[in-house]
Subunit: 214 residues, 4 copies
DNA sequence: CATGAATGAGTCTTCATTCAT
DNA sequence: TATGAATGAAGACTCATTCAT
């Protein structure tokens, strides 16, 4: 049976905020770190790392530029937190969509569908992750971004390992082919158009599963 | 039978000068524009659009910064030319690799292999094209980049149209799936490692053609 | 006979707190001020007044930056205390080395030797004093630093006054010449090399006492 | 015979300016590099390296801050040029004051007098050199400053080598003692007061030459 | 007394671009 | 056409200091 209409709740960002009893702290000010992170995610998603200035980010929070540095010691550090948070949200959504009891193909469809669903629900997170994948950042930052990505791809790796594939298929290449198909949807897929994200996810998985040649 | 060992010559950049009416432009002009374009391609590929300054480019040509503006009226204009040239070279390599007389599957394998071969031979061009695909640039520039990309994808579109696919396959999605797989190789494929570019191209095409599920 | 091997104990910093009426200030106050002063001495000595930030100082004590301002109302005030303490320690070492019963030339040798010995034992204090001597600080701070220095030079003034010098020597100039020789050792003298501090002190005094010309 | 009243012309800074035919170039604008260097010397002398901002320097020239960087690639580079120029002027004045035909003691008096005369004529240069001698700057800059100083002290080294001193005197220490006396005059000597620079120079040399003890 | 957070002016530096010569 | 110089806004980041809690 193929995955049903994504019945599980989708994860939203909590940008590292402690539970915060909203009853008492009405103005919801508090927690400037979270406010900054939120703003930074939006700005980085729109204009990228290089195209976004600390001033931009500060301006869209009301905080002064200098104050950002109390919470994040550099622009790179801030971006790294943004990237990690993006990966965290996307990963959580993917994981939440997987029914651990289902068979591997179903689980893969669920994962792929959830991946695409992020485009609709949290395109900022996807922008940040995909947008920076292709620009090699120098060492200290660059390596941390790669670690984040690995922690995400791991979920797919595990499923692909347990897939019943024909014996001469290289599972690494197979997985990377799928991830490429999925990542590229960022360039062309509109989840609000004719085909919804979950169906598109199943279709893409099906392409690698079945014979498409007549 | 799969495609043979890519026997056709690969295209190198002629740095996209317009046909150049040499009668009028006799004086030592010839090269300047080309020299700048060459340097710009290298720098933009290494450090991206935002990470590259006009000074960087000027410095690696011996030309003074101010002089750049005689040949290109802005940094965006220069980048646009660089992007167009990159697309032109990659397209030409793909086209040159296709045997027009071969059957569609073979032609597709030839195109995919040639695409990947660019990673080995002209990674700068690929860096520029892929690296900027995910960053939405504002209107005047952004739209021109999309046009360039379309002019490249066209070659794949034509082949995919003539492919004998099972009837319920959406050829648009099928093509975009393939292009995604290919584009993503930029992130993981090392053409100098175990598997050469042409074989990898055939393998990726095969994944979409055959049944991989056991 | 020249001064013997500096037998008197050398003074260490008690980080210049006022006598501290412990009856009133009972609570764990005792150390804080001293801890800050210690850290500040080290940092100012290493990186100078301008090169040291209040944050640097706070960081090397575990105290938070804001808390420094309870103990010292400004950076200048803190530096002033550091400078005063440095002068106090150096002065105390010089005074302790002088045998009040000895003749003036011996006393001068003892003082000079002790001065140089500070380079070996407490180079931080010397760094602070010498390093700031040549930078004219604006009025309120600047004048206090000069007062500190005067309180130190006084010890030499007294000895020089009682020296049996040839009648046409200007004792002021003579003293300043000696102090210049001594101060400048900060630039070139290594107390851990061939010649120890006490011998170097005697040699420098001897140069002004005897005829060095053949 | 001791040195006469410093008959040789004193060197002024030409801050690296090419001869510049002042007849044609009336507004004497031209040569912004020289203008910047002049202003920088003044500011650095007054407030030191750390206490002077590039804005300060730009403001006192009418040039915009950014423009400074066309002529000097960093603040350190600018300071280094300032320091080198200061050493150059002082050295030239010292050299110009020395009569190569005179005997060593006379030559030393001439050199010392000229050294002190700089305090009256070009105290900015002296401020820069002396003021930075006591602050250890990190490697790239620091080492260059030391080289500059060495190139100055060399003039004294040569004279001291040829001095007829009693045999057991260490000429290195002797020279450093003299240089210390001279450098320290920056702290106390007022060349416009009772004793003029040339006489003070001879007196200080005399102190190391003759027996001052009764 | 101590803290965490914020402030806002200030730091050096880089940039795309322009323009007289 | 090419150049050298200048521009001025913008970049990331630091700092001494303050203040409510």
């Amino acid at each position: 049976m193929t995955a049903s209409k994504n019945p599980r709740p989708r994860i939203k960002s909590r940008v590292g905020r402690p539970p915060s009893n909203d009853l008492i702290n009405a103005p919801a000010d508090q927690d400037r770190r979270g406010v900054i992170l939120d703003a930074a995610i939006r700005r980085f998603a729109e204009t990228g790392f290089d195209g976004t200035s600390m001033r931009d980010i500060a301006a869209s929070t009301g905080i002064l530029t200098g104050s950002l540095y109390y919470h994040f010691k550099s622009k790179e550090e801030l971006f790294c937190a943004v990237h990690e948070e993006s990966i965290r949200v996307i990963s959580a959504n993917v994981v939440a969509a997987i029914d651990p009891g289902a068979n591997p193909w179903t689980r893969l469809e669920q994962a792929a569908s959830a991946y695409l669903q992020n485009l609709a629900d949290h395109s900022a997170f996807v922008s940040i992750v995909i947008g920076e994948t292709h620009r090699r950042r120098p060492a200290p930052l660059g390596e941390r971004l790669i670690q984040h990505r690995d922690s995400f791809e791991k979920h797919f790796t595990e499923i692909v390992e347990s897939l019943p594939l024909v014996t001469d298929v290289d599972r690494n290449i197979w997985r990377l082919a799928l991830l490429g198909m999925l990542a590229w949807t960022y360039v062309w897929f509109d989840p609000n158009a004719r085909i919804p994200a979950d169906e598109m996810g199943r279709r893409l998985v099906a392409m690698l599963r079945e014979k498409t040649s007549a």
